[in-house]
Amino acid sequence: MKVIEARQLTKRFGNFTAVDNISFEVEKGEIFGFLGANGAGKTTAMRMLCGLSKPTEGYGKVAGFDIEKQSEQVKANIGYMSQKFALYEDLKVWENLRLYGGIYGVPKKEIDPRIDAALKQLGIEDEKNTMVKALPLGWKQKLAFSTAIFHEPKIVFLDEPTGGVDPAARRQFWELIYDAADRGITIFVTTHYMDEAEYCNRVSIMVDGRIEALDSPKNLRRAFKADNMDQIFHQLARKAKRGEN
């Protein structure tokens, strides 16, 4: 089952083409890495897929809904987390989860059991009544992920989710991502850590608004005769003609 379908998606601002005719598909339960240099068009593409910005041309379907004509249904069926965690610092841990559950229309009687299950999975049951501002960064990050998937969306968009956390926490976070993917949640993730690109089932690399490479890390390494994703990224991103302006 396809959770994302993008067909010739294009976004122009005036005479600047931020996203230039991109097409790809993402399958259910897949971990899909969306890479590119600053200014390559990742954020604009992601905003279209999340129903926050309408394509100038082309067509896209996310979680079964048309991103242009059914953008509200798209928003209700996806999760989103960015590096600036959308957590309420002055609310307790459980209150943050309760709030997101309410916003996304999780049935009332399901909210409490889901809060307990989420805290158990994170191993922070004892912190249920702690104010979010008192949590260490690594825990906030995991909690932000839990709120993003609290309504069991078909797909979750993660925009540089691991920036700034320590090496161990960064890896524990990826294990949460694996678990969510095993439960059938599709993961769409951007990152500037090239080792994390290796954890994805497939990776796309954007250059100047276009997708210049898309395959599994293993096949990309073979095709580009490279030892790792870092070398591939440098080969492609160096070709960029437009500056980030």
Binding site: N38, Q83, G164, D166, P167, W174, F233, E244
Partner: protein, 309 residues
């Protein structure tokens, strides 16, 4: 020769949170010194104390021979500071921002143009654009130009590459290498461990304390554990299977392999009997194929994880 930065037992708390728990280090003139660690480790607090923007609770620090408390006026004239958050005037143009910084320090853009030329030339085509309308990478270049325009003796860069893609990060470090050639001492903080090798010396910081200060090479040489990389056809399951093995102390994903450390008493180096062959046998019994096991040299990230425990 006098050290560019001298820090002794520096402490600073915010209410009950100890942001700096008594750190000491020296930076030699002309050195690139990296402070490497995650968000919340105390990097920004340290930079704010050294740039005289924040007072320590106790301990001492000097920059280019001046005490950060008694000599703050003198220090402010001769250091450059690029904070982690973009702090230029958003409503002024690129050129106006640079002019302001030059005139505050009683110099002109022309006088020190040679210092910023390589960096500023890249944004000069947009010199009439408002700073607030620049992209992330261009803001970074403008901020660095402004921090350099008075030819500082010591340059403080607080997480200049956070959120920046790998190619732009590499270019930024190439710029720092050129500034070093001009004799400027550079203190730079970063959460990216792969940038450690670009520094002359580094301090690994966590929870307000330094885990280690040395050259990147020495830190790697002092890594104590037995470290192997392991690969198989099923990486997600491999992680769990490796963790279930009693001989293995830690196991983390590292790109296309997992890194494992062997319990000291079980490693062959210490007379134990756990070998590549034994691990391969263990994994074959769990139906892994395409198994590859190698003894490897630690990266700075491995070292950080060992030291942070």
């Amino acid at each position: 020769m006098m050290n560019a930065v001298v820090v002794r037992d520096l402490k600073r708390s915010y209410n009950k949170v100890e942001a700096l728990k008594g750190i000491s280090f020296d930076v030699a003139p002309g050195e690139i010194f990296g402070i490497i660690g995650p968000d919340g480790a105390g990097k920004t607090t340290l930079f704010r104390i050294l740039t005289t923007l924040l007072l320590a609770d106790s301990g001492t620090a000097t920059v280019d021979g001046d005490d950060v408390v008694k000599g703050f006026r003198s220090i402010r004239k001769k250091v450059g500071y690029m904070p982690g958050r973009f702090s230029l005037y958003q409503d002024l143009s690129v050129e106006e921002n640079l002019t302001i910084f030059a005139s505050i320090f009683k110099t002109t853009i022309q006088e020190n143009y040679h210092l910023i030329k390589d960096i500023y030339q890249q944004i000069e085509p947009f010199k009439t654009r408002r700073a607030g309308a620049l992209s992330g990478g261009m803001k970074q270049k403008l901020a660095l130009s402004c921090a350099l325009i008075h030819k500082p003796v010591v340059l403080f860069l607080d997480e200049p590459t956070t959120g920046v893609d790998p190619v732009s990060r590499k270019e930024f470090w190439e710029m720092l290498a050129k500034l070093k050639q001009q004799g400027i001492t550079i203190l730079v903080s970063t959460p990216y461990m792969d940038e450690a090798s670009l520094c002359d010396r580094i301090a690994l910081i966590q929870d307000g304390a330094f885990l280690k200060i040395d050259t990147p090479q020495h830190i790697i040489e002092q890594y104590e554990n037995t470290l192997w990389s392991v690969h198989s056809n099923e990486m997600s399951r491999l992680l769990k299977d490796l963790r279930s093995n009693d001989n293995i102390s830690t196991c983390f994903a590292f790109g296309d392999t997992h890194h494992i450390t062997i319990k000291p008493e079980r490693s062959a180096e210490n007379g134990g009997d756990f070998t590549h062959k034994k691990l391969e046998h263990f994994l074959k019994e769990k139906n892994h194929v395409e198994i590859e096991i190698k003894s490897i040299t630690a990266s700075i990230e491995d070292c950080f994880m060992e030291l942070a425990g």
